[in-house]
């Protein structure tokens, strides 16, 4: 039985690439709009489309349940905005986040924003095992700034600013970059995540 991954659909943007990428890694994929179904999820992916408030809208009524599920060990991956909503809140919106990571999401202090394109992720995390080219695709204007810096497992430099771009707290991973848009390197990270999730499950 292959791992079943649940992708949350916030109702904005397309989920083709993330869905297809996870399927190519051998996972079964379900996309849900009814977030109460997260109560039974084996593995959760918060995809990287949309803005902060909009992405939290459908999740907010189930915030406590989702926090409980993730703290009980359900392997989770948040991508871009899907990672940002795992913080307590964001300068981009007024909604509370899920609060998996302590700290807030802040505006990038850079001249050219959005930070758009391929940039390097400096990380020794096991999810980077076998990734030879450390360039990943980014498109964002905000970044996660954790209180407990030990959740930062990777960083990226842009216009002389080094910001956290890769997070892990136990079973809960978050990437500022888009593995599903990062060609071979991104595929490898997702494969590693699926293996990690299967080991936990």
């Amino acid at each position: 039985m292959s791992l079943k991954v649940t992708i949350t659909d916030y109702g904005v943007g397309n989920l083709y690439s993330i869905r297809r990428s996870l399927e190519m890694c051998g996972a079964q994929v379900e996309v849900i709009t009814d977030m109460s179904k997260l109560a039974d999820a084996e593995c959760i992916v918060f995809p990287g489309v949309g803005a902060f408030n909009k992405s939290m809208e459908r999740l907010l009524p189930y915030r406590d349940m989702i926090r409980e599920r993730i703290s009980s060990g359900v392997p989770t991956l948040g991508i871009c905005i899907g990672m940002q909503i795992m913080f307590e809140g964001s300068d981009e919106g007024t909604s509370p986040g899920l609060g998996i990571y302590d700290g807030r999401v802040e505006k990038l202090p850079c001249r050219m924003v959005p930070h758009m394109g391929w940039n390097q992720v400096d990380s020794d995390d096991p999810l980077m095992d076998g990734v030879t080219d450390r360039n990943f695709y980014f498109v964002h204007s905000y970044y996660g700034n954790p209180v407990d810096t030990s959740v930062t497992v990777g960083t990226t430099e842009y216009e002389g600013v080094t910001f956290p771009s890769f997070f892990r707290r136990h079973n809960a991973y978050g990437t500022q970059f888009h593995p599903e848009k990062s060609s071979v390197s991104g595929r490898r990270v997702l494969e590693n995540f699926i293996s990690f999730a299967e080991d936990l499950a």
Binding site: V12, G13, N14, Y16, S17, R20, S21, G50, A51, R111, M112, V113, P114, H115, M116, G117, W118, N119, Q120, D133, N135, Y137, V139, H140, S141, E157, Y158, E159, E180, K181, S182, S183, V184, G186, R187
Partner: protein, 250 residues
């Protein structure tokens, strides 16, 4: 450090890539999803499809092509050409495009930029500007470079940024099709005037031209068509050339 992007552009008409394509092992008539994935393998950082069809039927064909490509391509895909309304942009994004470029419609109705940015996020809104030198400045041209809009191209780029554009796709009508290199002064003028990424387009005939535009302007990306389609060089060869000269590429 952020790398400079290389973006092959495919002109698509009635579901097929026009302009000669001669990759070995692929069909004689270029099939966009196959070509897009071939370019990803070569190291393309993004792919752009430009729909040059005129008919409504062809628009649906294009959306089908975008969907098929989105299921195979794992780098960002931009779709442009014939985007007139917010709904056109929504259709392209729903079909699987990551970004959508808007050109003439934004000139005649600038509010489309802010409406799209609010609805979908500014990162997916690319404003395409076709400019031509007139006297001591550059003017915006629309409808494939045939009609002057009577506005200054640098000012228009700044306005597009203020309205919510996430990126500028800048094509020099003077350089386009001539293959003597990108329009350096024009690209530099626009890249200096805005703080969103500028994609240089028009005039690329060699890898040296791509080096020149990165060495001499603040362009974030270079778009090219024929040098890749005619197999004059691969994306990988361009990148090796750039890397050897100190340009940071993936």
């Amino acid at each position: 450090m952020l790398t400079k992007r290389i973006i092959p552009c495919l002109d698509v008409k009635d579901g097929k890539v026009v302009k000669g394509i001669n990759f070995k092992g692929l069909r004689d008539v270029g099939y966009p999803p196959e070509l897009a994935t071939e370019y990803e393998l070569q190291g393309a950082d993004e792919i752009t499809f430009l729909d040059i069809s005129a008919s409504l039927e062809a628009r649906q064909t294009m959306l089908n092509i975008v969907s098929e490509t989105a299921g195979k391509l794992f780098v960002p895909l931009t779709v442009g050409g014939g985007i007139r309304k917010v709904q056109d942009m929504r259709d392209a994004l729903n079909a699987g495009a990551d970004k959508v470029s808007v050109n003439s419609a934004a000139v005649s109705n600038p509010d489309i930029i802010s409406e799209c940015a609010e609805s979908f996020g500014r990162q997916c809104v690319v404003v395409a500007i076709d400019g031509k030198r007139v006297g001591d400045h550059w003017e915006v041209f629309t409808h494939g470079g045939t009609k002057s809009a009577g506005i200054d191209a640098v000012e228009w780029a700044q306005r597009a940024e203020d309205l919510g554009a996430g990126e500028i796709l800048l094509t020099s009508m003077d350089a386009d099709g001539v293959k003597t290199g990108y329009d350096i002064p024009f690209t530099e003028a626009v890249a200096d005037a805005v703080s969103i990424p500028v994609i240089a387009s028009g005039g690329c005939g060699s890898k040296e031209h791509i080096y020149d535009v990165f060495a001499q302007t603040g362009a974030s990306a270079a778009l090219a068509a024929s040098i890749f389609h005619y197999n004059e060089c691969t994306v990988g060869e361009v990148k090796e050339y750039l890397r050897d000269r100190g340009v940071n590429v993936r």
